[in-house]
């Protein structure tokens, strides 16, 4: 059940009607039931896995908390280890087993061995990377003493399985979302206006921008050898627009649906293509994942508290694992590695500039525009490794780009149209520094904008409903 299908609209409508007729406990119970139903629409077999993850961390949280109160560090570690082993074990088995076995098999064959490694065709449970990280953060926060465990399993299960964000985030911290589960919520008209606006903007991003961009980008990635350089460059830009608007659209729709129910989920994107440097990009892109990796991986590794070399290694390792989090493929590892390299180069350069006390910069506006373009070009190029599903396609695409063959200038037209639609949302958001900028508008301009958006959605609507890209992670 995708967020932009009529089935979901009916589902959400029923949930809202029931929600407004129940008390707090009834609401949580109904939301958990609806979330399990929503998840079982993908694959009912994995509901048990989801619940197993909930049971494990609910138990681990209480165990660690009791040990914390008793001052038993060893028991706290045992509890945390149980959570880490269970969650990461599930993730490793379902997501990475085939990848590592396949890679080991290839490596051994290259060395002349003929191994008979077990090959399992394992189906990846949808959303496993997201809810696993979420439950892990719960256990770790209790271990760190930053959070007390929740009393009721129902509240905890709803925190993990809450349908708007279960499948593809935002990856919420227990400290932010659990209080919203356990306390009665107030749904105001402002909540509903915010929710509808966010949901509508998400729908616009998905249907009017991401799906058409994806349809075009697929053509270039399917057969890069048959296009000249300019269409291939356009293909990369289109893929960048697709992945951004697809994921940001999903996040906005998730947050919009949550607002309608009185929940506040964290913002996941802050117009990342306007970033002024690569570090800034990662503060704007998939914020819930990048902050998770920062808090639970980069900082525990030592962060920037140790030597410059150690900081570089920590950064690189974090980005490499961030890449691997997206999927079990060498392309994702390369993508993460490249971003790790960019960040390393950027921080090294920044440190060098600061140590030499070099303060010269071009005029602020020029500097800002140039750096934004440079970061955008770098990020867009790196999407190649994310979008190409195999090494052969990557090499063919790179060859096509390097060939600098002439022709195909008209391919810029779809890029301009779809970038224009992206700017129609991002630019006012950035200028007003308010993602809900349209709520400040007067009645008539707002109605005209909504009607225009409806028209564009209608004109862009495909006959088939494309799934969100991040659902596969």
């Amino acid at each position: 059940m995708l967020f932009h299908t009529p089935q979901y609209f009916v589902f959400l409508g029923i949930v809202l009607v029931l929600y407004f007729h129940l008390n707090h406990r009834g609401q949580n119970l109904m939301l958990l039931g609806a979330s399990i139903f929503f998840y079982s629409c993908w694959d009912y077999r994995f509901v048990s896995l989801l619940m197993a993850s909930c049971v494990l961390d609910f138990w681990a949280g209480r165990y660690i908390y009791r040990a914390r109160l008793a001052g038993d560090r060893a028991a706290m570690k045992r509890g945390l280890l149980a959570s880490l082993t269970g969650n990461l074990g599930m993730l490793a088995f379902f997501k990475y087993f085939g990848f590592f076995v396949g890679s080991a098999d290839t490596a051994l064959r290259t060395l002349g061995f003929t191994p008979s490694l077990p090959v399992l065709n394992i189906v990846l449970p949808v959303g496993i990377s997201f809810y696993t990280f979420q439950t892990l953060s719960y256990a770790i926060d209790i271990y760190r003493g930053q959070l007390d465990p929740v009393d009721r399993f129902l509240d905890f299960a709803l925190f993990v399985a809450f349908f708007p964000h279960m499948v593809a985030g935002p990856i919420m911290r227990a400290v932010d979302l659990l209080p919203q589960m356990t306390r009665p919520r107030v749904v105001t008209q402002a909540n509903i206006e915010r929710g509808l606006l966010l949901f509508g903007m998400g729908l616009f991003r998905k249907v009017a921008i991401a799906d058409p961009a994806g349809m075009l980008a697929d053509t270039y990635f399917a057969n890069p050898a048959s296009f000249s350089t300019i269409p291939l460059v356009c293909g990369l830009v289109l893929y960048g627009l697709q992945i951004y608007n697809d994921f940001a659209g999903y996040s906005d729709m998730a947050r919009g649906a949550a607002w309608l129910l009185g929940f506040d989920l964290m913002r996941n994107f802050r117009h990342p293509y306007f970033a002024k440097n690569i570090a800034d990009f990662w503060k704007r892109w998939h914020i819930s994942l990048s902050t998770w990796l920062r808090d639970y991986l980069y900082i525990p590794l030592g962060g920037n508290r140790k030597s410059a070399t150690r900081t570089t290694i920590n950064l690189f390792l974090t980005m490499l694992l961030g890449g691997l989090w997206h999927g079990a493929s060498w392309n994702f590892v390369i993508w993460g590695g490249l971003h790790g390299t960019y960040l390393t180069v950027y921080h090294t350069w920044r440190r060098w500039r600061e140590s030499r006390e070099i303060h010269w910069m071009p005029a602020p506006v020029v500097s800002r525009v140039l750096s934004t373009i440079a970061v955008y070009a770098l990020v867009t190029f790196t999407w190649l490794f994310f979008g190409a599903h195999d090494t052969g396609t990557t090499i063919a695409y790179l060859s096509g780009l390097a060939a600098l063959s002439p022709g195909g200038e008209g391919a810029f037209l779809p890029v301009c149209v779809l970038w224009g639609l992206t700017l129609a949302i991002d630019l006012p958001q950035a200028v007003a520094d308010d993602e809900l900028f349209a709520l400040r508008w007067a009645f008539v301009p707002r109605a005209v904008a909504v009607a225009a958006a409806c028209l564009v959605i209608l004109f862009s609507g495909q006959m088939r409903h494309e799934p969100f890209i991040y659902f596969q992670f």
């Binding site: 929600y19 407004f20 008390n23 707090h24 609401q27 003493g145 930053q146 959070l147 007390d148 465990p149 929740v150 009393d151 009721r152 509240d155 227990a174 400290v175 659990l178 209080p179 589960m181 356990t182 306390r183 009665p184 919520r185 107030v186 749904v187 105001t188 008209q189 509903i192 799906d211 058409p212 349809m215 075009l216 053509t219 270039y220 296009f227 000249s228 300019i230 269409p231 009185g262 022709g407 195909g408 200038e409 008209g410 391919a411 037209l413 779809p414 149209v417 009645f443 109605a447 005209v448 909504v450 009607a451 409806c454 028209l455 564009v456 209608l458 004109f459 862009s460 495909q462 006959m463």
Partner: protein, 371 residues
Amino acid sequence: MNHSSISSSDAAAVHVRTRQFSLRRVWRFPVCVIALLAGAELILRIPAVRQALPIRTHYHEAGIVRRVEALEQVLADHGSIDILFVGSSIVRCNIQPLDFDRAVMGRGLREVSFNGGLSGLWPNAVALYVEHLWLPKAHPAVVVQGIRFGELHSSPRARRESAILSGPIERRWRTNSPTRDIEISALERIHLLQYRGTLPRWLASYESGAPGESLDDDERVATDSRGWTARLPTLDIVLSRGLLHAEAPYSAPIKDAETEAALAAIGRTAELCRRAHVRYVLVNVPEHAFRWSGPDGARRYADYVDTLRALAQSLSFEFVDVTNGDPRRFANDAEYSDYHHMSPAGAHRFTMLLASELGSRLPGTLTADRR
């Protein structure tokens, strides 16, 4: 330290402070948006606006819209249609209904024929259109389907056929959804819905850098009141311009899985007509003899015609072949525009031969008494 102090033990006792969404306070906004969309709907109904925008759906291509309008006019003028020609663009260009009517009138028969040939309609799509458009709208006495060998095989046009079959209206024709009729009715009446998906299709035409050529050549050519579309220039001129040199004689197998599927689709059309008590005739529309000039071409052509004849016999419908098994009867470059679409001269000759064959084979149907 960021303690969340999470405990729901006392929360359950607290009354829920959920406030209902107040429709009364916000009704003006959706009404205003709907009014603006209604305004857009009205603007889309202006012909000049429609002309400037991309084609809405395959069902709304000029080729279909003009034929349906012409059909309605013929029905208004004459009361009914006697003979309906269906098929692809070879039917659209190669059969002249007005010439046909005049020719059979010379035999003492008075009837009204109409050309329902549509560009890109391979046998599968023809069956769909006969079932959902032509039979319900035209109620003809006879359906004459034109076919050529190329249409028994997939081709570069196959992509277009899949686009036709997955079109918003055609897709619904093929389903048994309980809301199907309502959806089709809404699509036929509301222009805003018809434009769904036009933006990505338009953008996709620029994927290689230049806008793709419109497949709807009815935008550029004239169609007469009975649905016939003239095709020019003639093949000799086309060849003198250095075009069509990549064309080659047929080499595809006469019978394989693809042809079986196409023959099955023809059988479906025949069965649809039988169920509607409409006589069905299959016509071999002759292509230029060049198509059969390859090795063993004459024998292969005979096998092809025999295949169609065998199908007609097995399903008990009429089959007409004006070439009498000899492809060389149609070898004049001036009678063709390419190797399968005829020029007006070729269409006139073929139509005369067809009228002669049909006039003698179906005397019971082609009478003015039916009206």
